[in-house]
Symmetry: C2
Subunit: 570 residues, 2 copies
């Protein structure tokens, strides 16, 4: 059913205009989440935004630096800030700090007209917010780059159009779920020879309450937009608590959302920013508020588990840590496989929740189109492939980005010190003339043996950042069992395997279905285990300890609203 | 899309036969949950099951009494029992008591083939279980009657076909949600002048883990089947922990389910019975097991809240206590309104989670088609209507059923003692010649004043059983606000209102949308606030403290499974 046929009619000319403008995009998104083929309304090529867009984006970003970030929201009781770009400069932006009491009160006060607006109006308002964000993708790219350390190209794509895709996907799912029941239905129950019982029933979507988005350091928009837009599209106001190191991308998002909401005739306080003071622990305070009924969180397992155990008044959607594992059994494209793995390990310095950490390689070697390769040869060839990929500093910097925070830098140091084991590939420092203070390091590849308990202790802990383990295992079967155990015990956002054996492939597939992790098989080209595409790929499964939900499925949105039924005699 | 077009093909002739047998029912159920008109495949009229069915059901029930309940399941380490019919006789049935460790281990062991079977096979196996239960509706009616105290007619309908409807509804929702994603999809991403990226993706539903059903005393099948069938249909084995006073209806259900599962080629241990010893607290033990990932519970708020706070490894669906409220403002059918309320308060002695408890009546009186009626007149007329409805002992017994347990008997005693306030209607004891030991009492109607704090303390507590409050309020507006506050603070499964004023109606509707409770408006005929019809009416909203979920919507099923994606180059 087309979007226009469902939901209450728009209530104002402004909203009617938004329906007109975004109806086709919404309809296409609704079709896309069913078909799962490639689709995106937001071009991922920077040049698609115009010749001068990059420069204008940079200019807009520069204009934000070194001054207060204007955000006219209630409850401001001071300011906070302190972001430092992983590329070396202090942003010098101060954000309003809000009294949580006032912020939540304002969110609650803004709810009624947003609730009454219904699914279609909410969807097109969300699409307008996304469209305005999209138009400023270059500015967002700068903001993402200088808070996460992503290189510009990646910050543009992952922080811009791809994040917007995930937001739109959530809006489409939210709209679809909210319109499964008819708004009105007749009910006629025969009563034998007597008159039938005839009732008229209406079904109205009501929101849960205040939603809290707890943003992360590395992908503030990509990981933030699904929850933000799923909650907003289902009628819930959203309090955005960004990571203290990555406030700007979400602050820009909040400002745009408030602007669009106001123009459409709704309360700006449906979306507010809760920037925190150093050490304030604001997420804990907000998470336990009784008005907060939905929480979206990406970050450490420790705090994610704390939220799950303590914020029991809320629906809690978490993405936490995991140990992503790949089985390297055999391949008919050895060079393609090495190139694909090398890029996966290098992209954004392994600072993705989806980067493979452990490569399980039979100690007896693997079969390839280039003949049998021993474990040592595979490891050496992979190290060489990474070295080749990152041999040129300019190219290396464009792939690696910068080290996002001191925790990652520390782990690189430990790898170099040999704390994780013997290095097959030693990180080198990449010079970035444009940003001399940026810490850019190539990945470390550690040799490990599954049979050695000390090694296992190292590679079975999440080692977030550019440190991967080439783990020698006895056989493909052992690799499959280690994959299964790792996912069940430690969690994983991704799994990968390279094999030409139908038996090994089936065993890996079975292990992934059993342990609950999505699998990329035999990738040798321009698709990487650590990248997922909205409208087609699910991000995470929610079936293992790394996350309790996925982007995006019905379960991610269906419980963000409830349905109230009114019935009467006809 | 028709059921036959989705899901993996049946794997055995037995399953193929079930698909053939139940496909049309599944398709019709899928259409029904979208259309929300009246529909049921299970006749609610006892005679529809044949002339001799009632006698045969009685005979089958009698054959169960006074002996061990045969159930060949693993881990039996003793027996337990002790059910006493509210109609006065000991059932004398002993059930196997199982070691929870063994039971859960057996459930886990039975999962793989059930997971692999896919949504369509699981749906038709569930429909076959329901069909076998349906064929024995008269036997179930006896079992429900003699564990819950429902009169036979109600035990037949609510414990039989209506419970089966709710089970089938859950199966349909489960099937629909599991088949939203295609099993397989192609993905082609253009790459400018280069070859496009082409991937092939599969999406496979995997279950959460072991599901625990914690049954209730009053509606073991009606409140048990939605969770049981939603979990089973989404691939999860179900451990059924019945209420110690109402084991038999669920024990019969488990035995039938095990039989059907075995015949269809699956492990019987996908459904097991966990009958508990007195004071064992087995639900707590089971609820905290790490393998238990889904819990469905109906019962006291205290234990429901304990589950929500402690069983954080599981998805917990709870239906707890509430204070159902009705606004009595005005009517154009005074007699119809009084009759409708009288029946609502009397049905099953108010022992329904949906029975109105508080009737809010303006102290200045109400307008009716029979002229203005003072508060005292309305109360007296309602008392008279109840008295008239229940004047004949045979009819009274058929409506009231028996008092289900000592807690309800105690509250009736307190009402008679005047502990709740002045009585407008004093309960009388109804003699049931067939069951001389049954405790059958007509409802108590207590006069209360919203302005008096002592009164408020009484009527704002859930008083489960045949005790209702006629609460004098200052105005319709005050009634609406008290309704809103009651639902928000105490929770409610139902709300009702009688009014001829469009303004008051709108205010009540707004309050119900705000507080999150479904509303029945101006009921004067054969539809009652405390009854909901599957496939059309939602039972509960999940939006107020009385319950965190509803029968049945997508949110009730969508998170009982997860989706694992496998992708590869085409």
């Amino acid at each position: 059913m087309a979007a226009a046929d469902r939901g209450p009619a728009p209530t104002t000319p402004a909203v009617a205009e938004l329906v007109e403008r975004h109806r086709e995009t919404l309809d296409t998104a609704l079709a896309a989440i069913t078909a799962r083929d490639y689709w995106s309304p937001y071009p991922e090529i920077p040049k698609a935004y115009g010749e001068s867009a990059a420069a204008e984006g940079k200019e807009a970003f520069d204009a934000l630096l070194g001054k207060p970030f204007g955000l006219d929201q209630p409850g401001t009781d001071g300011e906070t800030g302190g972001e430092v770009s992983p590329y070396g400069t202090e942003l010098g932006i101060s954000y309003p700090h809000a009294d949580p009491e006032v912020l939540i009160g304002a969110a609650v006060a803004a709810m009624p007209s947003w609730t009454a607006a219904g699914p279609l109006t909410r969807a097109v308002v969300c699409l307008e917010i996304l469209a305005r964000i999209n138009a400023r993708s270059h500015e967002f790219a700068q903001a993402v780059m200088h808070t996460t350390g992503q290189a510009y190209g990646m910050a543009f794509q992952a922080g811009g159009p791809h994040a917007q895709d995930r937001g739109l996907e959530a809006v489409a799912y939210a709209y679809a779920e909210q319109t499964r029941l008819p708004r009105q239905a007749g009910w006629t129950k025969p009563q034998g020879r007597r008159d039938p019982l005839v009732m008229e029933k209406t079904f109205t979507v009501v929101p849960r309450g205040v939603a809290l988005l707890v943003g992360c350091n590395t992908f503030p928009t990509w990981n933030g937009y699904p929850g933000l837009f799923a909650s907003l599209a289902t009628g819930n106001p959203v309090v955005v608590k960004p990571h203290p190191r990555a406030v700007l991308p979400l602050a820009l998002t909040v400002r745009i959302a408030r602007q669009v909401l106001t123009e459409a005739g709704f309360g700006a306080d449906l979306v507010t920013l809760a920037a925190e003071r150093p050490g304030e622990g604001l997420a804990k305070v907000l998470a336990l508020r009784p008005e907060v009924r939905i929480i979206d969180y990406t970050g450490s397992s420790a705090f994610g588990e704390w939220l799950e155990a303590n914020a029991v008044q809320a629906q809690v959607y978490t993405e936490k840590a995991g140990v992503n594992t790949a089985v390297v059994d055999s391949t008919d494209d050895y060079a393609g496989m090495l190139g694909n793995i090398a890029f996966s390990l290098s992209l954004y310095s392994g600072q993705m929740c989806t980067t493979p950490q452990n490569l399980l390689i039979p100690r007896g070697g693997i079969s390839t189109d280039q003949g049998e390769k021993s474990y040592d040869e595979v490891v050496a060839d992979l190290a060489a492939a990474i070295g080749g990929l990152l041999g040129d500093d300019t190219r290396a910097a464009a792939i690696l980005g910068a080290v996002v925070n001191p925790g990652v830098a520390e782990r690189i140091g430990q790898a170099v010190d040999g704390s994780y084991g013997e290095l097959a590939l030693t990180p080198r420092t990449v010079a970035v003339p444009e940003f001399p203070d940026a810490l850019v390091r190539t990945p470390a590849l550690v040799k490990a043996d599954a049979a050695k308990p000390d090694d296992e202790a190292a590679f079975l802990s999440e080692c977030f950042g550019p440190v991967s383990f080439a783990v020698a295992v006895d056989s493909a079967a052992d690799a499959v069992e280690l994959l299964r155990r790792t996912v069940k015990e430690k969690g994983a956002m991704t799994a990968a395997a390279w094999t030409t054996s139908p038996e090994v492939e089936q065993a890996v597939v079975d292990a992934c279905l059993d342990a609950g992790v999505s699998l990329s098989l035999n990738l040798t080209g321009g698709v990487y285990a650590n990248q997922t595409a909205a409208f087609s790929d699910l991000h995470g499964t929610g079936a293992n300890p790394a996350a309790n939900s996925a982007y995006c499925d019905a379960a991610f949105v269906a419980n963000r609203f409830r349905t109230v039924q009114i019935r009467r005699h006809s």
